[in-house]
């Protein structure tokens, strides 16, 4: 067997190729890799910078516990919806129907309790069932009919919203009626004070939801499968993961979280309006993107979304306190989104 020993030449070059040694990196590369390993670092930095900037501009009253707790209350709904959105975005999808699902669920809770006179606990349960059903419809269309998530949820957003208008007859249920007949619906609005800061049960729910989802994503097989599915679906399938099952579960969980947001929404505004939460879709995507989760899937951390929601809240609150026109809030948030996506693109090139 006459083989030209071409490898002997290469062997002289020395060095072990497949051993995992760490090579020397430039400062920029090190930052890139750091952000890669800790995707939440960039949003935390932006959050701290924003707090410092507004403290310098607005002064003491910005940092007052009451004001900061107000920011937390203002981002509660977006934060909760953001958890659902993060989950979907991690699978390289997007859910444009979250806002409509939330409103539909709140209308179902309100009307079954007030108009039909169901016990309020049962009305809330029904709202959760509707949320899960909406998620299942999204998941079914995406996994079985293989429709792109963007188009699917754009369609279902319209459909769910229409059902919402039909079922509610475009009527708002007054806060007073809910307080008298089904006060459990306003449970999430119950507030208490600690050292001048004001918290609602909705805010506590938000924090608990984030902790729960962090656990599920990082410490259960399901969470690893969600990341793997978004990262490279083909590789995940070859590793034996049923990616359709994972996707279906993700959309159903997202629907259930929207129902939780609906309950919290009733607590926050007191009434049930079929016109509420119009901006929830884009706001939740904003929080996810600023929080460092990649729109291309498989990359990101759940707490980034909380930070992202807080950044938006801090900007809105700080600019309002500074007496700046609302249009500049929009402007600043737009800049942040573009910056966040640009950072993600850079980090992905590791």
């Amino acid at each position: 067997m006459a083989t030209d020993d071409f490898e002997a030449v290469a062997a002289k070059a020395g060095g072990t190729v497949a051993s995992f040694e760490v090579e020397k990196l430039s400062l920029g590369e090190r930052l890139q890799r750091f952000l890669h390993n800790y995707p939440t670092a960039a949003p935390i930095f932006v959050l701290l910078l924003a707090i410092l900037a507004f403290y310098l501009i607005v002064g003491e009253k910005f940092l007052a516990p009451f004001n900061l707790s107000l920011v937390l209350q203002q981002v509660t709904i977006i934060g909760i919806i953001g958890v659902a959105q993060t989950l979907v975005v991690l699978t390289a999808g997007i859910d444009l129907s979250v806002g409509a699902v939330m409103v539909l669920c709140s209308v179902v809770m309100g009307r079954t309790a007030i108009e039909m006179g169901l016990p309020s606990g049962m009305a809330i349960m029904l709202g959760f069932v509707v949320g899960a059903l909406c998620g299942a419809i999204n998941g079914f269309l995406i996994t079985r009919l293989r429709l792109p998530p963007f188009i699917t949820t754009l369609g279902t957003w319209s459909i769910f919203f229409a059902i919402n208008l039909w079922y509610s007859q475009s009527e708002t249920i007054r806060s007073q009626d809910i307080a008298e007949q089904a006060s459990l619906l306003q449970f999430m609005g119950i507030s208490f004070e600690i050292w001048g800061a004001r918290f609602t049960l909705g805010t506590i729910t938000l924090i608990l939801l984030f902790i729960g989802m962090w656990y599920a994503l990082n410490h259960t097989p399901w969470g690893r499968h969600v990341y793997a599915t978004g990262d490279d679906p083909q590789a995940a399938q070859l590793a034996g993961i049923d990616t359709n099952k994972v996707l279906l579960s993700v959309y159903i969980v997202a629907g259930v979280i929207c129902a939780l947001a609906a309950w919290t929404l009733i607590g926050r505004v007191g009434s049930v309006s079929p016109q509420a939460g119009q901006t929830a879709n884009l706001d939740s995507i904003t929080a996810v993107v600023i929080g460092g989760t990649s729109l291309f899937g498989g990359r990101g951390a759940i707490f980034g979304t909380l930070i992202g929601a807080l950044v938006v809240g801090i900007f809105q609150n700080g600019l309002a306190l500074a007496g700046v026109d609302v249009l500049w809030q929009q402007f600043a948030i737009g800049l942040l989104i573009i910056l966040a996506v640009a950072t993600d693109q850079w980090i992905r090139r590791v």
């Binding site: 290469a10 051993s19 995992f20």
Partner: protein, 271 residues
């Protein structure tokens, strides 16, 4: 040839047929892999190598024919069935998840949960144990890594990623490891590392099926070579009886394998 053969094939295919529409990818093909050997599968593009492998692993079950593992008839419906029976496959396109770390990748799809209540009710992963096993498996194969077990796979080079994929197959394959073009995307030195890995795996007693277009690699590591042509097993040759040119000639149809003094169907060692 059957009477001379006391060895039982660990993985055996008989009369395998697979059609895709009007294309016949597998045309009554046989396959035999014996314990402790590296069997290379070579063939021109479109000869049906991939279909053969998919039929054996369950990724695309054959329309007709039987697959036996350890002498027992199998009914694999999907790659998971093959995998749980002990057949691990390293795919050409790697099948690692880039943003997950090495340990997570090694255990992807078969994660270990904590013992007791936390694992049972909260499905809590046992990260420590998975990292410990991952570290052991990698150092067993000479891929020493201590702190980098938590490094995302995408920060590794092509050869390192392939090493992770091979380590995963070697760690979990209990009967057979199949490698589909493991060196196709690699540089010369990285290929060397992976070839050494293949020999390591074989020397640890695990039979390996190697699908490759790279004749020097095939001739270096394999014990026998299954030549696939026009959807069937055309010949089985050996690196020490056939030259690379003869192999290529048989594979392309330029030479009749029966014309070779060593014959068309080589026996495994010990037969």
């Amino acid at each position: 040839m059957a009477e001379a053969n006391q060895l039982q094939p660990i993985l055996m295919g008989r009369n395998l047929v697979k059609r895709y529409g009007r294309v016949t990818a597998l045309d009554h093909s046989d396959f035999d892999l014996y314990p402790g050997e590296v069997l290379a599968v070579i063939g021109d593009n479109g000869a049906g190598k991939s279909s053969l492998i998919k039929a054996l692993t369950g990724a695309a079950p054959p329309d007709i024919g039987e697959v036996y593992l350890d002498g027992k008839l199998t009914h694999f419906k999907n790659p998971m069935d093959g995998r749980s029976a002990g057949i691990e496959t390293v795919y050409q396109n790697l099948a690692v998840s880039p943003s997950l770390n090495i340990a997570d990748n090694l255990f992807l799809g078969r994660e270990l949960k904590k013992a007791g209540f936390l694992g049972k009710w909260f499905h809590m992963l046992d990260h420590k144990e998975m990292q410990r096993i991952a570290r052991d498996k990698l150092s067993e194969l000479g891929l020493l890594t201590i702190q980098t077990i938590n490094q995302p796979v995408e920060t590794l080079s092509g050869g390192q990623r392939q090493a992770v994929a091979v380590a995963r197959a070697a760690a979990f394959g209990s009967k057979v490891v199949i490698m589909d073009e493991p060196t196709a995307a690699l540089g010369v030195k990285e290929s060397r590392r992976v070839l050494d890995l293949i020999k390591d795996v074989r020397d640890r007693g695990m039979p390996v099926v190697l699908i490759s277009h790279n004749m020097p690699h095939v001739w270096e590591v394999s014990d026998r070579i299954h030549v696939h042509r026009l959807g069937k097993r055309h010949a089985v040759i050996k690196p020490d009886t056939h030259t690379m040119s003869e192999g290529v000639a048989i594979m392309t149809g330029a030479m009749d394998p029966n014309d070779h003094p060593a014959g068309a169907f080589a026996q495994p060692k010990g037969a």
